[in-house]
Symmetry: C2
Subunit: 334 residues, 2 copies
């Protein structure tokens, strides 16, 4: 409780200035020293007074994370990784969820100017690209996936078009003749779903196959209940698909349940592949094929983009675009 | 960006004082007025400067949530509900994960004294009950589940003994003769697992059945891989169980996968029931029977306990103990 900077310094056997560096500019401190200081911080229970720290340094040591839903497995796993990696840098991650609502996204982005956080990682859903940079002002902002901020902020995503093309090619290579796409969101033209739809269509064109609008099933959310509902619609077609590329694993798991309820064998009667590689899909029966984004890399790069601007005086640099790798994971549903 | 209290007040047609009340003491403002002001706050993008607010009022408007893992479905769903309900009260929820480590729990609890948060909801794993109240000091703390703080802080949980007894009784009523318990954690004597084990044993005793240590399978984590591993052990017994009460849904989903891989029919050869009612289990095949804690009620009561102490001058009151309701949900695995 009453632990002070100097208690931490004494325990770690370093100067007060070094402790301060670990808290405020960890990359300036050698790894071994940093680890000793962080251990001493834990042991003494030292915590910088937030208000005092802000007034002294203009920094709070907090990084914001604004995601649509904490409870979705993909964002939950990613948030967990970000928190762990932020701790390694001496930062506390402040997580908030937007439910994809424009006013919440706007509030959080403009809050970055309210000195609550030193930087913000946001996965926006509703904002227009040009709004993002305007709202953020001088605080470092990283846009994660979904909407391309078009040069108004750093952007971090997987190559959604390429990944969707690979997933669809995989279904075709396994013998699919009528592959469907479950997950387009026609009202959301600038989002990830539009990119995944493009990749699906490109793979069909590549294979000399016709695009059939009946096989592109729109959804209003990315969760299991919606995957279940959409799969029932596909199964009700006169000529139902023999393979389905689902734009998220949650949609795929809902679709899998619908297929099983309808007595279909997966993958024999209908093959499925998802996107996200959540743990859930590894343990379903049959286990779910998926596109696996490098979540660990996404978390690491997201924080590095913030750190570069916080410590590197990159304010004047143009916005960067970082593509995280992905791999196709072939399991039992395909 | 430059929005001020008075812009919000003008837009909402109220006084600056009323806006301030909505931000700092929402329960003092009529619901209709509060909603109008919150809408105006969203619209103007107003965000109180955290440091200034703290210096003026001694409050940050932030409530901390410290959970073992953001990425686990149970805690993810609960965190999502807490964030939504905190927003309704004008609070921002600051989420952190402890990974169950004592030093992280200690740091967050003592941080409650560092003026980062006005209150803290924590689900501790490693701390001794007597440490919790000591560390928290004068900041309102609610202990969620897991460890009973024994009167040193407000405690909020389901009745784990009763719930486990009901789950086991349910398996017995469906004809189980050799029900196993998957999930005890012998090294963690004061935790939820110990209470669930007690409930399981009580149900056996009630039914005049013998307790067999071979049917109590300890785990070191509460996730799918560990459920899978533990189920393989049970299946390898000379006289394998015909029903398994798993202490979490994640353990149960791992066990389900192991049973299916081993060619067992669920529930015919072995019945399963979990605990938590995560969405995952609703869409697995077969769908998972479970004990469903009232997550919505847990979130609501947790915030109310904090609010009572923040606005009600309850510092001097003894610690309270609130039990949230649960129901047994019978699905296809039992």
């Amino acid at each position: 409780m009453g632990s002070k900077l100097k208690d931490v310094a004494a325990l770690a056997g370093v100067s007060v200035r070094t402790v301060s560096n670990v808290v405020n500019n960890p990359s300036a401190v050698a790894v071994a020293t940093r680890e000793r200081v962080l251990a001493a911080i834990s042991e003494t229970g030292y915590r910088p007074n937030l208000a005092a720290r802000y007034l002294r340094q203009g920094r709070t040591g907090q990084i914001g994370l604004a995601i649509p839903e904490v409870g979705s497995p993909y964002f939950g796993e990613l948030a967990g990784l970000l928190i762990e990696k932020a701790h390694e840098r001496g930062w506390t991650m402040l997580i908030d969820q937007t439910a994809g609502r424009a006013e919440r996204e706007r509030y959080l982005l403009s809050g970055a100017e309210g000195h609550v956080v030193d930087g913000l990682i946001i996965s926006p859903w509703s904002l227009a690209p040009e709004e993002i940079g305007q709202l953020a002002g001088s605080t470092p902002v990283v846009v994660l996936g979904e909407i391309d901020p078009c040069g108004t902020a750093d952007h971090l995503a997987v190559d959604n078009v390429a990944a969707a093309r690979e997933a669809t090619r995989h279904l075709l290579a396994r013998g699919a003749r009528r592959p469907a796409a479950l997950g387009p969101q026609p009202t959301h033209r600038n989002g990830t779903a539009a990119l995944r739809l493009r990749g699906y269509r490109e793979a069909l064109t590549e294979a000399g196959m016709r695009q059939d609008p009946a096989y592109e099933i729109a959804v209003t959310s990315l969760h299991r209940p919606e995957g279940h509902r959409a799969m029932l619609r596909l199964m009700g077609l006169e000529n139902p698909p023999d393979a389905v590329f689902c734009f998220t694993d949650e949609l795929a798991l809902g679709a899998l349940r619908a297929a099983r309820e309808g007595g279909l064998r997966v993958p024999e009667d209908v093959a499925l592949i998802g996107f996200d590689d959540i743990e859930d899909g590894r343990y379903s029966t049959p286990s779910l094929s998926t596109v696996s984004p490098d979540k660990d890399g996404l978390a690491e790069r997201g924080l590095q983009l913030i750190a570069d601007r916080l410590y590197g005086r990159l304010d004047a640099l143009p916005a960067r675009r970082v593509t995280a790798p992905h791999v196709l994971v072939h399991r039992e549903t395909s």
